[in-house]
């Protein structure tokens, strides 16, 4: 006997295996099925039940094959079941019209081969129960037991699956028997039925792996996986019964299922069935059977991936407890956290080869649970983080987790959980968070820090106290100062590296979220802390991190000014802030761009001027002269110099706190600087700007302590004349004409300002000159722009010529 089976296994697996062979076998089988089905339908139309059954039996004979792969057998099965349905409909119809035969249940048992016999028996049984021909309970019991006759795994699985599908609507789902009909059965009978079917199917399913040569084991395992839903359907059916309550689940259903799952010692079955149980039954059931379920988990075979099962369960219960936004779905007596925490520890202890990433994944799920279900009790989350750190300390104290490993990835995922759940102020309350962060290598720490910053910026969280800022910086240290384990990265920290720029920009943006809304002193404290932290970051980082500090400091001086009634020390505080900024900007001058520090100095001068505190003039002058020095250092770069000078002039025009002595020094310097610029057009333009320094710029009148405009006519005219003279020396015709236009515009401005010595005659002569010069420029596209500018000037003048002031203006087309 054993020889024959062993040999048959080898033969059948070799014969049917090739793809083409399978296709042909399936096609042949399908054709036979259709032929028999056709014959069956034809004789049924003629009311010959016996003939119909005979053809049906022939058709079902195709399901006796051992040669098809499970996938192909399934396809065949589907078609056969479809055709069998016709028989069922026909018989049901007969009974409805009172023409049913009463002995079919016995007749079909004379069919020669067991597979067709049982399929027919199930079909007839189904019809008879529905038609009340036979008592339900007896028939169901009969069918589920008789299916034992097919012990071949594949055929048996599909047969029992057909049984399950057929009785879907027939399973009794009541507490007590129906009084009218006899022996209809109760919920307990249904449970017996399904549990027996389940245990038989599981047995067959597990047996599949032994069918054939050991070299084909992988293929068989894959085929088993494809068929798993057949076994799982039993569990689904159990979950659909309404009379199953928590009590029955706990005492009957779960223990019976677990018995099979644990004792089969097959990892494919165990993994699938445990997941199935979690998914298929409602969460209240799981809550009430946690201990039993978790105990069974510990008894699973060693190669089962228990991590996914536990995580699945934890996540499901977490979702359940936070459904509808409340945390009240879990009854008081079930301490979810404690139970899982304990059980996970047990599982980890019992599986010594569990890889660290699995342990971390479990801790992550637990962390998720504690943060979502116990939102305001930080000690739970803290405990999980502490335990995680301990696990790694036990493996290797003070060693980092290697970058890129699965364990590192899981740790990163874990650290993201609190960031997602809470805002950063609550995260800071988890004081063991940084313990876990320190476990990671540079690249992962970097990822987590970026994530944290992005989260703060997205959620627009405000961080109001210096202490919290300090705690936050502790976490973000990886981005702020050079790390000992980032040798490769340090070499790439320049502004040419896009990632570095992005990273530091984010750190800088973080600034805007450090706000102590009602407490300027606290804000000052924050600024100091930021400075203390960032000064260790190296020059390249300071390029990004210092400017926000400086700008915030300036903003803070304004705040102090606003509360000057309440705070008598406000001026000293402003002084300290400006000194701080001076120091910081000074550091920045070591960078190669002079533009940034120059602008920051000028901004400072403006701020000091607006504040008007007692030392404002000294401070503003100091800043201004520093800016001037930086300008002088730009000697080699004409374009930069010209731009910087423009900035200087513009700023001076706005600064109002200089007394005459300082103001005139600055006016002179800037005007001379204008004439010393290398290119003529720059000289002209800048001189024109300087005219405003002598007119609308304001200086402080010492006696009245009020600022007044300079209004120095002579100097204005001198500048204008000089500018005109320089313009005549320009060789490029188009540029010259353009500048004449700009000159004219400036003269018009001062004419409107009623500067003495600028009268209509002067304007007319300028207009005439311009009109003459205009003819010299070409008519190509480049000069189109200049022509338009001039046209605009003339249009303006024409408009104004109506006014009394402009009487005598000579402008023609």
């Amino acid at each position: 006997m054993s020889m024959q089976k062993a040999v048959d296994n080898n033969r059948s697996s070799n014969a049917g295996l090739s793809m083409d062979n399978q296709e042909k076998l399936l096609a042949d089988a399908l054709q036979n099925v259709r032929q028999h089905a056709f014959a069956m339908k034809r004789v049924l139309d003629q009311q010959s039940v016996m003939e119909g059954l005979k053809h049906a039996a022939n058709m079902l004979g195709e399901l006796r094959t051992s040669l098809l792969s499970p996938k192909n057998y399934y396809e065949l099965h589907v078609v056969v079941v479809e055709e069998l349905h016709h028989l069922e409909l026909y018989l049901t119809d007969e009974f409805e019209h009172g023409r049913g035969s009463h002995d079919l249940y016995e007749v079909v048992q004379y069919a020669g081969n067991i597979v067709p016999r049982l399929y027919l028996l199930i079909t007839i049984g189904h019809v008879y129960i529905r038609a009340n021909e036979l008592p339900r309970r007896e028939v169901l019991r009969d069918l589920v037991e008789m299916c034992r006759g097919v012990q071949h795994p594949l055929r048996g699985l599909f047969l029992r699956n057909y049984l399950l599908q057929c009785v879907k609507s027939l399973l009794p789902d009541t507490e007590e028997e129906n009084q009218e009909a006899s022996k209809t059965g109760t919920i307990l009978d249904s449970l017996d039925f399904i549990l027996l079917n389940f245990s038989e199917m599981n047995k067959l399913w597990v047996r599949m792996q032994y069918q054939g040569h050991t070299r084909d084991l992988q293929r068989r395992e894959q085929e088993r996986r494809e068929l798993r839903i057949l076994v799982g359907t039993n569990l689904v059916r159990l979950s659909e019964l309404e009379c199953v309550n928590v009590e029955r689940y706990k005492t009957i259903v779960l223990p019976k299922i677990m018995e099979q799952v644990v004792s089969c010692r097959d990892s494919i079955a165990q993994e699938y069935l445990m997941e199935c149980i979690i998914q298929v039954f409602p969460d209240e059931y799981h809550l009430n059977t946690l201990n039993e379920f978790l105990k069974a988990c510990r008894e699973l075979s060693a190669s089962v991936n228990i991590r996914n099962i536990l995580i699945s369960l934890i996540d499901r219960l977490t979702a359940y407890s936070t459904r509808d936004g409340s945390q009240q779905n879990i009854p008081e007596n079930i301490q979810l956290f404690d139970i899982f925490s304990e059980q996970i520890a047990e599982v980890v202890k019992s599986r010594i080869n569990m890889p660290p990433e699995d342990i971390v994944a479990l801790q992550s799920a637990l962390l998720n649970l504690s943060l979502k279900c116990y939102r305001d009790q930080f000690e739970y989350g803290n405990k999980v983080l502490e335990n995680t750190r301990k696990i790694f300390d036990n493996i290797a104290l003070d060693t980092q987790v290697q970058t890129g490993t699965p364990a590192a990835k899981e740790l990163v995922k874990m650290l993201k959980i609190p960031i997602d759940c809470y805002d950063i102020l609550d995260v800071l309350k988890l004081n063991h968070y940084k313990l876990v962060l320190q476990l990671l290598s540079y690249r992962e720490r970097h990822t987590v820090c970026m994530y944290i910053i992005n989260s703060i910026l997205d959620k627009e969280t405000i961080i109001p106290t210096a202490e919290q800022v300090t705690q936050l910086f502790e976490l973000l240290l990886t981005l702020i100062i050079d790390q000992t384990d980032s040798a490769l990265e340090t070499s790439r920290q320049t502004i040419t590296n896009e990632d570095f720029v992005e990273e530091q920009n984010l750190v800088a943006r973080l600034y805007n979220n450090f706000q102590a809304p009602n407490d300027p002193d606290q804000q000052y404290h924050i600024i100091k802390i930021c400075q203390d932290t960032f000064k260790n970051g190296g020059l390249e980082r300071m390029r990004f991190t210092y400017p926000p500090i400086i700008m915030q400091a300036y903003a803070l001086t304004f705040r102090y000014k606003n509360i000057r009634e309440q705070d008598e020390k406000w001026e000293k505080k402003c002084q300290k802030l400006f000194q701080l900024c001076n120091q910081l900007i000074n550091t920045l001058t070591k960078l190669e761009t002079n533009d940034l520090p120059l602008r920051l100095y000028l901004q400072g001068a403006l701020a000091a001027s607006e504040i008007g505190s007692e030392n404002a003039e000294t401070i503003a002058y100091e800043f201004f002269s520093q800016a001037y020095t930086l300008y002088e250092e730009q000697a080699g770069d004409t374009r930069a110099q010209s731009a910087s000078l423009t900035l200087l002039i513009g700023t001076l025009e706005k600064v109002t706190c200089f007394a005459e002595e300082n103001h005139s020094t600055l006016r002179q310097s800037l005007t001379q600087a204008a004439t010393r610029l290398v290119k003529r057009p720059d000289q002209v333009r800048t001189l024109l700007l300087c005219t405003h320094l002598f007119w609308s710029a304001q200086r402080l009148n010492e006696s009245t302590q009020k600022s007044e405009q300079v209004h120095d006519n002579e100097k204005v005219l001198a500048c204008l004349k000089k500018a005109t003279k320089l313009t005549t020396q320009i060789m490029d015709q188009s540029v010259q004409v353009q500048l004449y236009n700009e000159l004219l515009n400036t003269y018009i401005y001062f004419f409107n300002q009623n500067l003495p010595d600028i009268d209509i005659t002067l304007l007319n002569s300028l207009i005439e000159k311009l009109q003459n010069e205009m003819s010299k420029i070409s008519s190509n596209e480049n000069d189109e722009f200049i022509r338009n500018q001039i046209q605009k000037t003339f249009d303006y003048l024409r408009q104004q010529s109506q006014l009394e002031k402009f009487q005598g203006l000579q402008i023609n087309n």
Binding site: S2, M3, Y105, V139, Y210, S263
Partner: protein, 169 residues
């Protein structure tokens, strides 16, 4: 109805059955036997060459002392086994792949390498594998000491060998 009348008609009543134990349900079946013939190697030089094969066996049948073993055997060992079984057991022993006399004609008269040709060796290997699987699976052959010596002793010591029967261990 067939189901109800069972109480009155004992001849068609269901036989009482004991539920099967959990071990019997899920344990691997106790009839596992796999024998492979692999790795043919030709040893020696010139006229004194011969080819042997690895016989690898895995089983959980109780009658075999070792559950896993691997030995090397040559064609003449198979012939010896067949002779022993034909004499001592009552089974009709299947035939071996052919002796290939043609191929054993002297080398200078043949165009190819005779019995050391790769194709031929592969053909022979398949035949030997079929042979040994059929034989070892037969319960009556499993009782013969010759089979056990062939499959599980590292070398067949013809001096020490005494024919006999093996009972279940």
């Amino acid at each position: 109805m067939a189901t109800i009348d069972a109480d009155n008609r004992r001849e068609i009543a269901r036989l009482p059955s004991r539920p099967i134990s959990l071990e019997d349900r899920y344990d691997p079946p106790a009839n596992f036997l796999e024998i492979e013939v692999l790795n043919p190697e030709t040893h020696g030089f010139g006229n004194k060459r011969y080819t042997d094969y690895e016989i690898r066996m895995r089983t959980n049948l109780p009658v075999f002392r070792l559950k896993e073993c691997s030995v090397r055997r040559r064609y003449s060992d198979f012939e010896w086994l067949r002779k022993e079984l034909e004499r001592d057991s009552k089974i009709v022993v299947p035939s071996l792949p052919s002796k290939a006399w043609q191929r054993q004609v002297p080398a200078f008269l043949r165009r190819d390498d005779g019995i050391f040709e790769d194709e031929f060796i592969e053909e022979r290997r398949k035949g030997l594998e079929q042979f040994i699987n059929k034989v070892a699976g037969h319960p009556l052959a499993q009782n013969e000491r010759s089979l056990h010596v062939f499959l599980q002793d590292t070398t067949i010591d013809h001096d020490k060998y005494v024919p006999g029967k093996v009972r279940n261990s």
